[in-house]
Symmetry: C2
Subunit: 522 residues, 2 copies
Amino acid sequence: MNATSEPMIAAPESAGRRGRRGPRVKGALTQLPWGPLRNPVPPVEVLSLDHLETIRLTSLRLLAETGMEMHDPWARDVLKAAGCAVDHGTMRVRFDPAFIEAQIARAPSTFTLRARNPARSLTLGGNTVNFGSVVGPPYCSDLDRGRRSGTTEDVRNFVRLLQSLNTIHYLYGTPFEAMDLAPEVRHLQGYLNGIELTDKVWGSWMLGRFRAEDAIEMACLTFATDRDGLQRDPALIGNINTNSPLVLDAAMTHGARAFAECGQAVIVTPFTLAGAMAPATMAGALVGQNAEALATIALLQVVQPGMPCVYGSFASNVDMRTGAPAFGTPEYAKAAFASGQLARLQGLPWRSSNACAANVEDAQSAYESQMSIWSTVMSHCNLMIHGGGWLEGGLTASFEKLILDAEMLQMMVSMLQPIAVDEGALGLSTFAEVGPGGHFFGATDTFGRYEDAFYAPLVSDWSNFENWRDRGSLTASQRANGVWKKMLDEYEAPPIDPDLLRDLTGYVDRRKSEIRAGIGVE
Amino acid sequence: MNATSEPMIAAPESAGRRGRRGPRVKGALTQLPWGPLRNPVPPVEVLSLDHLETIRLTSLRLLAETGMEMHDPWARDVLKAAGCAVDHGTMRVRFDPAFIEAQIARAPSTFTLRARNPARSLTLGGNTVNFGSVVGPPYCSDLDRGRRSGTTEDVRNFVRLLQSLNTIHYLYGTPFEAMDLAPEVRHLQGYLNGIELTDKVWGSWMLGRFRAEDAIEMACLTFATDRDGLQRDPALIGNINTNSPLVLDAAMTHGARAFAECGQAVIVTPFTLAGAMAPATMAGALVGQNAEALATIALLQVVQPGMPCVYGSFASNVDMRTGAPAFGTPEYAKAAFASGQLARLQGLPWRSSNACAANVEDAQSAYESQMSIWSTVMSHCNLMIHGGGWLEGGLTASFEKLILDAEMLQMMVSMLQPIAVDEGALGLSTFAEVGPGGHFFGATDTFGRYEDAFYAPLVSDWSNFENWRDRGSLTASQRANGVWKKMLDEYEAPPIDPDLLRDLTGYVDRRKSEIRAGIGVE
């Protein structure tokens, strides 16, 4: 582990890194190897084809009749030039269904993003499943120091874990906000974190054009290419949200415009919480989601035909008594199944989330996350953002939850490996060798499979009650605390050309000065 | 709640039932209504038809070549008379594949069990899904008194909760052992608990003929019928386990024989832990499971052609480093999917479990249980035993875990309700009313859906961090503690004819005396 990460860790008992509080993890950490995941099981589908088409057609009617507010004049101009009905006074744009269908048909159903390490490239579409980190929380938390505003060093440690975790295929250089930095320069440090501390595909800020432009510039440096090269071989992906219902605001448009002009991938995610930003029905939330995603992707396809776009879904519901958003609910899972169907019907890669509403890494956090994970993976989400670390409805990035999520994601990866059915695995001769009432532990065949017969957990404790109690009665969350510390200890930075790092740091420093001076911040 | 349950509860602050420690739950408990569950989504299938058939054929070869040890001489006699190859010396029975197939074909693919309350009857088969309670643990636990040997009153309180929980469709009158009773009479009290405190279908002991016979006698009293009547309209179901690999012991055979002779339902569940009681492969565990289940069901079909039998599965794996059994693992989930396929292929209702290895109601307990619940429900388990309350690999029945499980099961029930797709739900006019950027909370349509638009949780806390913290930072497990106490407070015993209760109590008292005297204990 990089020594600069040490100051975040309280070390009351000793001066070294071993002085950290909390349980120690003995032995090496075991993880599944890095690898792209494909879900070989046909997707679970909860909507009939008839109902699916009804939802799609209703969303097209909604775009034709009510339309969408586009707050950025450029977007309205583009759509007006493309033949849409635009009212600049009300900012309302109404869309012809055939126009939407034609634009959506231009978007690729599968595309690949290059990573600094070619082995870490991502393919989105088809039955690929990729897991990403949490992004966005204003807080971070761990068992030692509780919930707090995070610093750059907290962020960098979290990013080191994201690099180390093989089940995280994609990450943000700032999984949570670094509150020691001014808001307008956090993205620069985040990109640097992503490039320096990891060799995976990293996500871009999309709020305002300048943040997207900085991502493009730093990607060009990283890949020693120019914008044309980046467009030919895209590396960047950023998420924009509509302001549901039916609004696309200016700041998000600016970020998306920069990416569209350079052919980098844009995820469009409506935030349709049924009962608040959508009708109090899941069909209504899906209609709103589909309308907002399609209209926004259509805009991007007009600007850059064939550019990679991702259909984002975040349909869930509120608690009708309090208005509180709820995640990992039965409605959330149902909407995830349906969203996968809508994305496939419309030929778009699909993005989902591992969301929960729990405030602490307890049973609720796990069962809500499992509702999210199972429903989205079984309906072939191509990119699960917030896959690791999300807590508290997205307001906190938790170090322990990251490890617990990694365990849950690993279990899905392992579960989706097909059951081997061959003569050895079927075991007829092993049964004959062992015989009725025997024990297979000593069988010849078992010996050969000893090392990797079954999934080895990261944090689960399978020991019996007495052993577990005698080791301190640690909960999964407490054990996860020991795991992330050990993983930080074992972190190895991926190799990076010192010249590149110098150039990137130079770029970041220069841009920080410019931004402080008010240059290039639109 | 029955006043006799009070002594188990420490009441330091006051004399009344309100004096219980732990969090109080405000307001009425909200539950989904009682109702049979059908899974409308096609089952998830992980094995190709080719591999599925290979596993089936290999299990038939295993029964033909290695065969099974049948420890009860009666069973060997029955099978010998039916044409099987029997060696009384080694107790080995070898089966012709055509014999097995012919017997299995006699078992019904669907059957119904009557409950004391006709509305609580259970149908097993097809896409029905029924959830049952934990059964078998030597310990019980709750947050107030920890893990301990349970008493009759502990058991009766747990059974009251099982009656109260609408998501529990089926239960055992002793979800855990009442250690204040002699082992040989616990079943009598358990049956009485099931009949008196609940009106649902209750499960029978199968260890030794006398326990099964007592269940039959008490069912005859309950339904005011005789054995012929019970056979025409079965009410009882009991689970027997094979001693994997490939052994059926005498005590289990005796219980199953009693049920077979009276046409009551028998679940046959091999316990094929890969790496211990089966080869260290999931294909091998499935081959073993299928062989043992089929041979045992074939025996029962010879005795009572057409009797209701259930294909049980419990395939999981051990930790190869320690030999510890593991549950809710990726292998467990994979085997569950495959077991559903095998059961359907062979035309048998299918039994599974909600199992976990965790020692405490933490995140691990929830994510392991969700692995079990999702995989078994999505592969159409007809009866999930251990659905509520299982902890610690089945060694403890936890009051808090029961509530957490009920929440997870309710979420599945809710998720499986189809998305309503009609004009009102699609919400086109509601979108028009609210318009871009508006809020749906005040919409006309929302008002009409306010009460039951979304799933209302039993124990999940969706409040924000500050409110959650100010209310005591309670974990899901701590909140579950409050829920089960409130549920006990609100428990209402189902009506029962006093004459029936007197007759049942008389039967139990008489049998206790007889058993103490060594009469009717074989």
